[in-house]
Each structure stands twice: as structure tokens, then as C-alpha cells.
């Protein structure tokens, strides 16, 4: 996509799940001993019209339970229960399916996962699944926009109701002669290394980033040649291990991110466990296969702020046109880090909070440190406002931002945009089983470099899933802006300091403070 060309939104194309069977939220259970097989349930079921609801073969199975679950037409659930009421034999009951109960956790609830799948498939949300908040009991889940409290019916899925608003943000606000780089949606795709995820997943994400004229990142594991055709949309990451980082990969990128730390494992460098270091991974990193790879925590040539300045200046000398992004976690003095980076010449500061993911870390390190992102954002924003430099640097928040609403809340708290990791992987089928760090352990073929499993994700299909997801998110952002009476998403971000007063701040309320 050339600069100056008018950006055309990518088209949503249906991208159904690759699995023949889908995970359903509800199931109807027929007690075989009571059922007279009259077929009344199939008659009255609003979703089953025209299709047989009763699968006689399944009915004859030894466990006696029958699922009324015809693929693509799923049970409406507890709010309906017509079949239950109409059954003369009182043989039916509607329950949450076991898969649904097992799926997800408090942050990524089953609702959010299934909603993400739905959005990835169809590019829009339906009323079927909760698509805005999870159930973590804190963080973004306790924040609501003002209008959410008023509306009973929230976002509908009628496209004529949504204007398409300006959701673009500018990445270079320093006016320093380097390209301005405006992206049409306030997100780009997070750093995931080749090694933590498969090549096909990287390609799917890159293709989606190209379609949306935004970016994805190489992560720490090097820049596979296959990614070069997307180079205008791929950020080169320079992390402490410098795997696969060389003059070519730095010069070809429009943005370079210096990863000083990662929210999921602050104080630690990458730790790619041995079974994920396949020969392909080893080749691109120029290391020995099947030996664990440790990246140091600090850059060994950056131990002080003037070293950081030297580091940023070095990258700018190697690629004078690139924007420099600095990725840090969220320690207590994250504001000091922010201002130091600004003076060092950074264009983008990516603050990565504790809910972030990682495909390359041992269990005990994951997510057990670092400040939650919802605290870190206003701290950094307010500090930079006080310093008078807020409008010269772009703040991107990352670390477990799951939904369009999370992103909008992050912006309302003071970020310019967000970097999205896990949500993209969920879009292409991740079930959040949290087995990412073991090479053959990803059952979805995502966080794997296993030579067979990697083909599970088809690149075109995967990219369409992500494209659809962002389409749906853009509609939601437009909806939010419409409700708040704002022209564009940049106005959602506060200009002054964010102040938390009686549970309210900048278009939002905190549920705990509502009386």
C-alpha cells in the first residue's frame, strides 16, 4: 500500500471455523427413557425449522442422551426453551454445554472467546455472546462507558445503524522529517517470534496487517524470508537476544521496536524452551536446535539512560527513515522510563502490562509481576502531559487487551492505541488452553513450530479471520464514538490529565463506585 493512496477497507468474507464440529454454548438433552420420539421439539424449535432435530442414530447410542445440535444452526438457549415447554413427555432440558463450561477463564471467558470466533467468522457481533467484557472482577471489566449503563440494547448487528467513523491514529507525532505513518485503526499486531508461533500464523497476521494498512511484528526470533513481501507492514523487533536481527532486517522496516521488557515476564528475557527450537527455528536464529534459548534481561549495552539514548540513535543511524518504538513493561517507575525514552528520540512507547501473553517463558514467570495496564496508562499519560510532551509521542498499550471495548477504554485512559496479540490468535482458533510454551503442545497449530502441526492454519483463511475481527471492531469503535458524540477516535483520548473523580473519568465509570 503506497503512502498517499486512499485506503480502502478490506472486505469481510465469511471464514467459518476449520473444525467440522463447532463448540456450542447450549445443548438440549433428551432423556431417552421418557422420549416418545414424537418430533414435537423439532417442529417448534425456532432455529431448527426445516431440519430434522432428532438424529435417530445418535438416539440409539448407549448413553441415551441426544444432542439437538444441527451444525450451523445452534440452540438459542435458556431464554427460549420452547422445546422443553412443548415436550409432552417432559423429556427435555436445556443446559450449558460441557465444552462451554470448560472453555476460557475469568479474563478470556467462554463468551469472549466464542464472540471472537463469531466476529472472525462473520465480521460482526450478534446478541448471542458477550463481546465487550470478561469476568475478571477488575481492570477493564469493571469499567464501562457512560452510555453502556443507559442502553439496554447495546450494539446491534444492523450495518445501517453504524456510520463508519474515523478511527485512524498517527504513529509519528514528532515532526522530525520521518514518515508520519497513519494507520486506519488504532491497533497493530503484537510481537510474536518465529519459534513461539508458526510461520503460517506469522504470514496470516502479516497479510491481515497489510489488508488493514497497519502493522505486525517479527517478535524476537528473526525475520523469515517469507515475510519480506509484507515488509511495509512488518515491524522489526530488536530484543536482547538479537536473534535474526541484522542490518537488512532493520533497514527494511518502517518501524523498529526495541524490546526492553515484556509485561508477561518483566525482569526476564525470552526463554524459548528446547522442544520449540526446531531446526527451522534454529536456522533463522543461527543457533543449535533443541537447546533452550535464553535472551538476557537487559540489553547488555544499555544500563543507563544515556545508553538508551545511544541505542535509539544507533537504530536511527542504521535506518534514518524508520520510526523507533520502545517496548517496556510496567514497573513502578514506568513514567520515568517514558520520559527517558522520549528524550532519547523515541516515536512510540509501547507499555506492555501484566496480562500479556508469551509463547516463550517458563510457567513460573508468566504474568506474575508487572503493573496492570489500566493503571500504567494513566500514570504515563498524566506524567507526559505534565512534562509538556504528551502530543509528541505515541503511547500504545498492550498486554491482554481482548476486545474493541478494551481498546477503547485504553484510549479513554490515555493511550493513543493498542497492540493486539492474543485476540488475533483467538480469532484464528486459539482456545486459550495455555500450553503455548511446549512445542508440540498447541492443539490449534498456532503456538507451534512442529513441521506438521504448523500447516493446520491456512494463511489465507487465517488472515481473513483477523481481517473480519478488525472489521467488527471498527464497527464497534464507530458505534462508541457515535454514542459519545466524538468525530474520531483521537478525540476519545484525553488531552489533559485523566482524573478519577467519584468513580468517573473521561466518559467512563468504575462499577465499584456506582451507588
Amino acid at each position: 500500500m503506497m503512502q498517499g493512496e486512499l485506503f480502502k477497507k478490506p472486505i469481510v468474507k465469511p471464514a467459518p471455523s476449520q473444525y467440522p464440529a463447532s463448540i456450542e454454548k447450549y445443548e438440549v438433552i433428551i432423556e431417552r427413557s421418557k422420549c416418545s420420539m414424537c418430533g414435537k421439539c423439532a417442529e417448534v424449535c425456532p432455529t431448527c425449522i426445516g431440519a430434522s432435530a432428532i438424529d435417530i442414530e445418535a438416539y440409539q447410542k448407549p448413553d441415551g442422551y441426544l444432542r439437538v445440535a444441527v451444525p450451523k444452526i445452534s440452540c438459542t438457549g435458556i431464554s427460549c426453551q420452547r422445546c422443553v415447554h412443548e415436550c409432552p413427555d417432559d423429556a427435555l432440558s436445556v443446559k450449558l454445554s460441557p465444552q462451554y463450561i470448560a472453555l476460557g477463564d475469568a479474563r478470556w471467558t467462554a463468551e469472549l472467546i466464542m464472540s471472537t470466533w463469531e466476529q472472525a467468522e462473520a465480521g460482526r457481533v450478534s446478541k448471542k455472546y458477550e463481546y465487550r467484557v470478561g469476568d475478571s472482577g477488575g481492570g477493564f471489566d469493571k469499567l464501562r462507558f457512560d452510555f453502556e449503563l443507559d442502553d439496554k440494547e447495546i450494539c446491534d448487528d444492523d450495518p445501517s445503524n453504524n456510520e463508519d467513523r474515523d478511527t485512524s491514529i498517527v504513529l509519528n507525532k514528532r515532526n522530525d522529517g520521518r514518515p508520519e505513518i497513519r494507520i486506519p485503526i488504532p491497533v497493530y499486531s503484537a510481537d510474536m517470534s518465529y519459534g513461539s508461533i508458526s510461520l503460517n500464523v506469522m504470514l496470516a497476521r502479516a497479510k491481515a496487517a497489510e489488508a488493514w494498512n497497519t502493522f505486525t511484528s517479527t517478535g524476537e526470533g528473526g525475520y523469515p524470508d517469507e515475510l519480506i513481501k509484507y515488509k511495509d507492514h512488518v515491524i522489526t523487533q530488536v530484543a536482547t537476544g538479537h536473534f535474526g536481527v541484522n542490518a537488512e532486517t532493520i533497514k527494511r522496516a518502517k518501524i523498529i521496536v526495541l524490546k526492553y521488557a515484556q509485561g508477561a515476564k518483566p525482569g526476564l528475557g525470552g526463554h524459548l524452551l528446547a522442544d520449540k527450537v526446531t531446526p527451522d527455528v534454529a536456522k533463522i536464529r543461527e543457533v543449535v536446535p533443541y537447546i533452550s534459548l535464553f535472551s538476557p534481561f537487559p540489553f547488555h549495552n544499555v544500563y543507563s539512560v544515556e545508553d538508551h539514548y545511544r541505542h535509539v540513535q544507533l537504530m536511527e543511524d542504521v535506518n534514518p527513515q524508520a520510526l523507533i518504538s520502545v517496548k517496556v513493561s510496567t514497573p513502578v517507575d514506568v513514567d520515568m522510563v517514558a520520559i527517558g525514552s522520549y528524550y532519547a528520540g523515541t516515536h512510540i512507547l509501547q507499555i506492555d502490562g501484566g496480562y500479556g501473553g508469551t509463547g516463550a517463558a517458563p510457567d513460573i514467570a508468566k504474568k506474575n509481576i508487572a503493573m496492570p495496564i489500566e493503571y500504567a496508562i494513566p500514570i504515563v499519560h498524566n506524567y507526559l502531559v505534565r512534562e509538556g510532551v504528551r502530543d509528541q509521542i505515541t503511547i500504545m498499550a498492550s498486554g491482554g487487551l481482548r476486545t474493541a471495548f478494551d481498546v477503547a477504554k485504553a484510549i479513554a485512559l490515555g493511550a493513543d492505541g493498542a497492540v493486539i496479540g492474543t485476540a488475533e490468535l483467538v480469532a484464528i482458533g486459539c482456545k486459550r488452553c495455555e500450553n503455548c510454551e511446549r512445542g508440540k503442545g498447541c492443539p490449534s497449530g498456532i503456538a507451534t513450530t512442529d513441521p506438521a502441526l504448523r500447516y493446520f492454519i491456512d494463511v489465507d483463511w487465517g488472515s481473513q479471520r483477523i481481517i473480519n475481527l478488525y472489521s467488527s471492531w471498527k464497527r464497534q469503535w464507530s458505534h462508541i464514538l457515535e454514542k459519545l458524540g466524538l468525530d474520531n477516535i483521537r478525540k476519545l483520548r484525553p488531552n489533559d490529565e485523566v482524573k478519577f473523580k467519584k468513580g468517573r473519568f473521561n466518559h467512563m465509570v468504575h462499577l465499584d463506585h456506582l451507588k
Binding site: 536464529r285 538476557p296 543507563s304 545511544r310 534514518p320
Partner: protein, 858 residues
């Protein structure tokens, strides 16, 4: 070892209490960062402040102009307008009035009331601060030569029960507390700061501002001020829109001043520790607590220097185990008491102090135990003796060159350059330059071991061209039109017997000869380069004088190259900063672009990196880049895989050849930090030492180093990264190395004053050799088995096999061609040739059992 007098010590400590209660000491306040550039000089003859200007300017990018300061110890009574006696006995109290209107009140309360004022004057300044680019007007500084008023002092002693103290100790404390009270009242407790004491010791003055350090010199007109010891600091604070001069460095104790590069994480814990001893900081920076802690250790506790250093930078781990038993005992006791006050994090201190009662001045550099900040020490011993400490070598070299230009008692290159190994049993991570009563300068390490360049050699004064003798044998030699290597060989063999006058004559002849044509010029360039690079016996003449002379002549030869803008097809074309945008491609592929980089900025769009990149794109393949003054990033990111050769001369700065891919670099000098960072392919030859984090993340290529590595080389190196190092490496070598197709050779040799190769004590004195490595190997030349497995972390030491020797021999042969270090000589132990497996040993990684267990799910 002095016996600490408990009786005198504890009253001093406990009695600080009344003064310090209520001091504004909220430890929740944000602490400013101390990333910076530091410089210190100690000279047996006084030097003028102007010589600090250039080195401080060249360290601009270590600061951001939000803080700078200077301290001077060992001043001239005449210049200050007092008698020698007053300079020796009076305290020089300098008060910075941020609000000049507060002066009357301050003087009445804290100066005239308590002190006898011998002389009071406003220090000179230039008229308009904006004329030198300062945004914030520096404070008005008044200088008072004072002694405590007798009656006030007597009261003070009586009230506190200090009769047991020596009278000067009591008076010192009196002055100290007086200043503290002034600072508390007029600075710390106020929103709008009014005044503070910058210094109050004997024969020491401190100035500091919101600005760059060299602006301090300009604003307060210190260029002509002479002093034996100077320290300077460029600060890089990041917090706050309003910066106060009180937050700049140096910070003072009593007769000392401290500057600091780095910042430590345990500011709060140090503050708590100090508070338990009734000391409270006022200026809210970590550097201040370091100065307060130093003052506590040296002035209140009167620890000998070695123990004070141990208390600040404790010896731990393997280094502790290597100490002699008696030291272990006392260090253990010191650590038990003080370790929680030891600053934790990257730091490097330079302290300038007067020990008035021992009649000596000292300049001290102390580095943290993990060597996280850069530091260079240097010494010149000629007619004058001068010691240097700085964050970057290029700053030292600039200063000494400028001194030598103006004063023939100084020589343009120092005799020794070295680096401290933090918290070590080898040097203690600290070096001290002491100027005694007779103004003799002595350098020692933490343990008191002297460092000296004094040997059978002498410094030689340059001879002007009139006085230069003719050198007929050279003229004869040149008639044969020799090759460069032959001329070099001839010179190296005979120079021992030449007088310095003859050497000067030779150098001048070379310069003239180069002017004849391109062919002669090539020969001269080659000859002089070899004479700068190689080691040979220079007889009774110091090598540094010879090398600096040859380098100067070589630069003259380069300077007389015709510019790229002229039309001829000659071999060399010169480009300077003014013309850089007009650079065109070469006329033929053998042309050499000669780049005079002296006027280039340190980095950025107008810098040397961009010029080199552009020149390569235009087709240039041969480069000479000379007259570096610390410029950084030269060759960074250069992808040039088709026989590009770059020769580098001068004081090249950090990040040389970072990310380079393909070129051959020949660096005719020591290199600084982050060199060959992520070097991908090509060749790098350094005719000197290499600094910190050498080849960090390197992927391939081959590097050859004549001298030593400091610390942290080859971390996370992968692929085929290979290095041949003739010197030693101090610590943290090759962490997480995975270069299965590469290896490192560490020879651990050096050169004596006769240019002969000698063994260093060990190729590797530190702990942390090859930790967490997964592949590759380090070949140590270690026939005496000085390196033990206790220095490893997940590795083991093996003998080398025949295959190993066959693998490394070709590189050792190349090493011989480059540096003249013979493979045979390397294999000689005590003069006897040994088999390779008796001389070299191999460090290899082993699987780390704990991790393997984890990964298999146990």
C-alpha cells in the same frame, strides 16, 4: 590500619540528630536519574580549566544539558587573591544564590554570625547567560574564605562533648553542620529555592548549573583558573520540567566532591541506613546519598581508603574467595556492617578530595561490582605527571592532545590506559591518584599497589623542523623505492638506536616523501600505519611519543590529499564535513576516499555513518577515515559484501561497525564500547583494546584484537561469530553464546616496554566465563592453568584435541600476519616450545542439569 576511636565517632553520629530532624526527607519523592558523562584529572602541575572544555563537549551526548558541574581541588592562592596560608587553612565556602536578594539574610544568619570571614567576594561571571546558550540563569555564587568563630566553635565543642576530638575535626564538623542548616533553610524546605552551599572545604571549589558542564566553565569564567585536580559532570536527568542547580553534580562531603554516572535501585534503603546514623539528604538525588555515605565513611568513621571502598563496593563471590585470609576477615566485618548501604545498580564514582591534614590531594575512581558503567583510567609520567578518569577514552585523548599543544611539559599521548574490574581481588575496582605535599603524583589501586609507567624510558620533546638533523640513511633507503612493509621492518628494527631527533627527522622525511606521488604516498601510509599498529622496541624513547608523532604525520599526509571536488584521477580523494553533500562516486574502483571526520557531529543525519553509507552506494570501496574525536556509529548497518576496506584512525567512538555486514575494518587505535554489535559478516581488526559488550549478538565474521577486552563480549553470539583476542578479558565473557560454527581464542598476552610479547597473569581473571552457553568454545592460552572451573557457570574446561588445533591454527596464522604475534611465540612457555595441547585449553558448554530436568517435565 587506623584504630577507629569509638568515643569520637559515635558522638559525631548521634549528634547530628538535632540538626537533621525535620529535614524535608520524604523518601516517596521521585529520584532523578543519574545517567551521564564524567571526567576527572589529577596533575602534578596545575592546569587551567579551559582544557576541560573540549572533552566535556565531546561527551555531550552522555548528558542532555539539564545539569552540569565542575569541582577543582588544589587551587592557586594568587589567583584566588589570598595568601598561601589562608588557602591552606581556611574553608572556602561557596554559596549559590538562586535568589540574590536572599544573600543579606543568609550572610547574617549563617556566615557573619558563625564564621570569621577572611575574604568575601562575588565570583566573576560573563554578562549574559543567554550568550552562551543557557536558558536558565545560573545562580550568583559568592565565595567566602572562612574559619569558625572561636567562641562559637568552643560552644559547639562544649555542648556536644567533643573535647576528645582533634580541633580540626571539630571545626570541620562545625562548618559541615552550618552548611547543612543553611541548605535546609534556604533550599530543601522551600518550594522556591533561594540558596545553597556548593562547596565548603579547604582548597576546593564547586560550581554547578542547569546546563552543560562546559557552560559552567564559560559562565563563571573558569577557563584561566588553575588547579591540580578537576572533575566534571554532564548530567542526563529526565524527571521534571524544572531542574534545579542543586540537583546537579558534584555533591560534596566536606573537603571532597563526588560525581556519578549511573543510578542505583536502593536509594530508599540507603536513605534509611543514613537516617539511622542521623544523616538526611536534602537534594533528592541518589548521587547526594552516595556523597553523604562517602563522607560518613571517610570523615566520620575515618576508615582508611581501602575499607571505605570496600564498604561502598564490596568484594563478593569468587573474588572474595580469592582474597588472602586476613583481608577476608576484615572485609567480612565491613560487609556485615555496611553492605545494605552499598549502592545497588550501575554506578561509577569519581571523587576529588583534599586531605588537608595529610597535605595531599586525591582523585579517586570507583566502579560498581558488576562493571555496569564505562570507565577508563589513564596515566602520563613525563616532566609532569597527570592522571585521568573518564567515561570515554576519546575524552581523555582530546584533553591530553590539547594540553600538549600548549605546554611542552605534556605529551600528546598517555603512557598507560586501563580499566578497573569492579569488586575484584585484583584491583578492587578502584584507582587513586594522590598528589602529595611535594606535588608528586602517585597512582595506586584499592589495595595500595602502585601503578606506574616509570621504566627505563623517557619522554622526548618534539624538535622543531629547524633543529631537526638530517637523516642520511633514510634518504638512502628511500632512493631504492622500498615497499611499505620493508620500510617498516627496517625502521622497527633500527628505531631503538635512533635519537628522538632522528625519529622526528624520519617522520618529517616520510611526510615529504608522500608528497611526491600517489605511489610514494601509499608507501608512506602503509609504513606509518604499521609503525602505529605494531609493537617493537623503541629503545629509551617512550612508545607513546613515537606513535603520536607518526599519527600526526600520517594525518598531515591525509590532510594534503586533494579534495574530491578536484578533477584528477589520483588514488586518494579527500572529503571533509563542509563538502559532504557534494560527494560523487569514484573515478575508478581503486580510488580511496579519505574522510576527515573531525568536524562531524557525534551521530545523526549529518554524521559519519550516513556519509559512509552514501559513499558505498556511490561505488567507493576503499576508505580511510581519520581524525575521529569520539564520533559514534561509524560503519553501523553497512552492508557491503564486495571487498570494501575501511581504515580507521583517531579516537573513534562507540558502536563502531555495529550491524555491519561484509566490510573489512582496520582500526588503528583502541576502540570503545558496543563495537561490532550484531556484526554479521566481514572482518574487524583492532590494533588496541576493545571496550564493553564487544560483539554482543554477533552472527558471524571474524574479529582480531591486539589488546584486551573489558567485559561482556560475545554475549548471545550465534552462527559463526569468531574472535581472536590477544589480550585478556576481565569478566562476563560469552554469556548465552550459541555460535556453533564459531569460537573465541583468548591468548592473554601483552607487550612489555621493549615491545616483546609477555604473558599476562591470566587470560581471564573474572567469574562468569561462558555462562549459559549452548555451543561454541573459548580457547584459552593458559599453559599455567590459571583459569579454574570455579570461574565458569555451566561449562567445563577440556584439553584441546588435534582437531581443535587444526581449527584454530589458521586463525592464529592470520593473527600473526596482522599483529606480528608469532604462532611459535605463542607456543613457547618460559622460552621453550611446547605442544599445543600443553599451552591451550578449551572451555565448552555443558547441558545445565537443572534446566534439562525442568524441560522434561520433572
Amino acid at each position: 590500619m587506623t584504630t577507629m576511636n569509638r568515643n569520637t565517632c559515635s558522638p559525631l553520629v548521634s549528634d547530628k540528630h538535632p540538626v537533621t530532624t525535620g529535614a524535608n526527607s520524604s523518601i516517596r519523592e521521585n529520584v532523578e536519574e543519574g545517567g551521564c558523562g564524567v571526567l576527572g584529572i589529577a596533575s602534578s602541575i596545575p592546569i587551567q580549566g579551559r582544557y576541560l572544555l573540549q572533552p566535556l563537549i565531546q561527551m555531550h551526548n552522555r548528558g542532555n544539558g539539564k545539569g552540569g558541574g565542575i569541582a577543582a581541588v588544589g587551587l592557586s592562592a594568587k589567583q584566588l587573591g589570598v595568601s598561601e596560608r589562608v588557602l591552606e587553612e581556611d574553608y572556602i565556602m561557596q554559596v549559590a544564590y538562586i535568589d540574590p536578594k536572599s544573600r543579606v539574610e543568609v550572610e547574617s544568619q549563617f556566615i557573619n554570625s558563625n564564621l570569621n570571614v577572611e575574604l568575601a567576594e562575588k565570583t566573576a561571571t560573563i554578562e549574559n547567560h543567554r550568550s552562551i546558550g543557557l536558558e536558565v540563569k545560573p545562580p550568583e555564587v559568592w565565595r567566602y574564605f572562612v574559619r569558625a568563630k572561636e567562641d562559637k566553635l568552643r560552644q559547639f565543642i562544649e555542648k556536644n562533648g567533643y573535647e576528645g576530638l582533634k580541633p580540626e575535626t571539630a571545626e570541620d564538623e562545625f562548618i559541615y553542620r552550618n552548611s547543612f542548616a543553611l541548605n535546609k533553610k534556604y533550599y530543601a524546605s522551600l518550594g522556591d529555592k533561594k540558596a545553597f552551599v556548593t562547596s565548603h572545604g579547604k582548597n576546593i571549589i564547586v560550581f554547578k548549573i542547569v546546563g552543560y558542564a562546559e557552560q559552567v566553565l564559560h559562565y563563571y569564567q573558569l577557563e584561566d583558573l588553575e588547579s591540580h585536580i578537576w572533575i566534571g559532570h554532564q548530567r542526563y536527568p529526565t524527571k521534571g520540567k524544572i531542574w534545579h542547580p542543586g540537583g546537579s553534580h558534584p555533591f560534596i562531603g566536606l573537603h571532597d566532591a563526588l560525581v556519578h554516572n549511573g543510578d542505583f535501585a536502593n536509594y530508599h534503603s540507603i536513605t534509611e541506613y543514613l537516617r539511622q546514623r542521623n544523616i538526611s539528604p536534602l537534594f533528592l538525588t541518589d548521587t547526594e546519598v552516595a556523597a553523604l555515605y562517602w563522607d560518613l565513611l571517610t570523615r566520620t568513621y575515618e576508615y582508611p581508603l581501602e575499607y571505605a571502598i570496600e564498604a561502598i563496593a564490596p568484594t563478593t563471590e569468587r573474588d572474595f574467595a580469592m582474597l588472602p585470609e586476613d583481608k577476608k576477615k576484615i572485609y567480612k566485618a565491613i560487609q556485615a556492617t555496611h553492605i545494605h548501604c552499598s549502592p545497588d545498580g550501575p554506578w561509577f564514582f569519581i571523587i576529588a578530595r583534599n586531605n588537608p591534614y595529610r597535605r595531599e590531594f586525591q582523585l579517586i575512581g570507583i566502579t560498581d561490582t558488576s562493571m555496569l558503567r564505562p570507565q577508563v583510567f589513564s596515566l602520563q609520567e613525563g616532566e609532569a605527571k597527570i592522571g585521568f578518569i573518564a567515561s570515554e577514552k576519546q575524552a581523555i585523548d582530546t584533553m591530553v592532545q590539547n594540553l600538549a599543544k600548549d605546554d611542552s611539559r605534556f605529551y600528546p599521548m598517555n603512557d598507560l590506559y586501563w580499566y578497573a574490574r569492579g569488586g575484584s581481588y585484583t584491583d578492587g575496582g578502584a584507582f587513586v591518584f594522590t598528589i602529595d605535599e611535594s606535588k608528586n603524583l602517585l597512582c595506586t589501586d584499592k589495595f595500595g599497589k602502585p601503578i606506574s609507567a616509570t621504566n627505563h624510558q623517557q619522554h622526548c620533546k618534539r624538535i622543531s623542523s629547524h633543529d631537526m638533523p638530517r637523516f642520511p640513511s633514510i634518504d638512502e633507503k628511500l632512493k631504492d623505492r622500498p615497499r611499505g612493509v620493508d620500510l617498516f621492518a627496517y625502521t622497527a628494527k633500527n628505531i631503538e638506536g635512533w635519537s628522538f631527533g632522528e625519529v622526528c627527522s624520519f617522520a618529517e622525511t616520510m611526510r615529504e616523501y608522500a608528497g611526491k606521488s600517489d605511489e610514494e604516498k601509499s608507501v608512506v601510509v602503509e609504513t606509518l600505519t604499521l609503525l602505529i599498529d605494531r609493537r617493537y622496541d623503541t629503545g629509551r624513547k617512550r612508545r607513546s611519543d613515537i606513535v603520536s608523532l607518526f599519527e600526526e604525520k600520517l594525518f598531515d599526509v591525509f590532510n594534503s590529499t586533494s579534495s574530491t571536488e578536484s578533477d584528477t584521477n589520483g588514488k586518494y580523494r579527500l572529503i571533509k564535513f563542509e563538502e559532504k553533500n557534494r560527494l560523487k562516486g569514484p573515478a575508478h574502483s581503486n580510488q580511496t576516499l579519505v574522510m576527515d571526520v573531525s568536524e562531524f557531529p557525534p551521530e545523526g543525519g549529518e554524521g559519519t555513518c550516513q556519509l559512509l553509507e552514501r559513499a558505498c552506494k556511490l561505488g567507493w570501496k576503499n576508505f580511510v577515515a581519520y581524525n575521529f574525536r569520539g564520533q559514534r556509529n561509524f560503519g553501523a548497518g553497512l552492508i557491503a559484501r564486495d571487498r570494501v576496506r575501511i581504515d580507521v584512525y583517531g579516537r573513534v567512538g562507540d558502536c563502531l561497525a555495529a550491524f555491519a555486514d561484509g566490510p573489512e575494518f582496520y582500526v588503528h587505535e583502541s576502540a570503545q564500547d558496543s563495537v561490532a554489535y550484531c556484526f554479521r559478516s566481514g572482518k574487524l581488526v583492532i590494533f588496541g583494546d576493545a571496550g564493553k559488550a564487544f560483539e554482543y549478538g554477533a552472527k558471524g565474521g571474524v574479529t582480531f584484537i591486539l589488546g584486551d577486552l573489558i567485559d561482556r563480549p560475545l554475549i548471545n553470539s550465534v552462527g559463526s561469530a569468531t574472535a581472536v583476542v590477544n589480550g585478556s578479558c576481565k569478566d562476563y565473557m560469552g554469556e548465552s553464546c550459541m555460535a556453533a560454527r564459531g569460537f573465541t581464542i583468548l591468548n592473554g598476552v601483552a607487550f612489555d616496554d621493549h615491545g616483546k610479547m609477555v604473558e599476562q597473569e591470566t587470560p581471564y581473571p573474572g567469574g562468569n566465563l561462558f555462562p549459559l552457553a549452548a555451543a561454541s568454545a573459548v580457547y584459552l592460552r593458559d599453559p599455567r592453568e590459571t583459569v579454574g572451573e570455579d570461574q565458569l557457570n555451566g561449562g567445563k574446561i577440556n584439553t584441546i584435541s588435534k582437531e581443535d588445533w587444526e581449527k584454530i591454527l589458521p586463525l592464529l596464522k592470520e593473527n600473526e600476519k596482522l599483529f606480528g604475534i608469532g604462532v611459535e611465540d605463542l607456543l613457547k612457555v618460559d622460552g621453550v616450545m611446547r605442544r599445543p595441547e600443553c599451552v591451550y585449553r578449551k572451555v565448552v558448554p555443558v547441558e545445565i542439569a537443572a534446566l534439562t530436568k525442568y524441560e522434561s517435565g520433572i
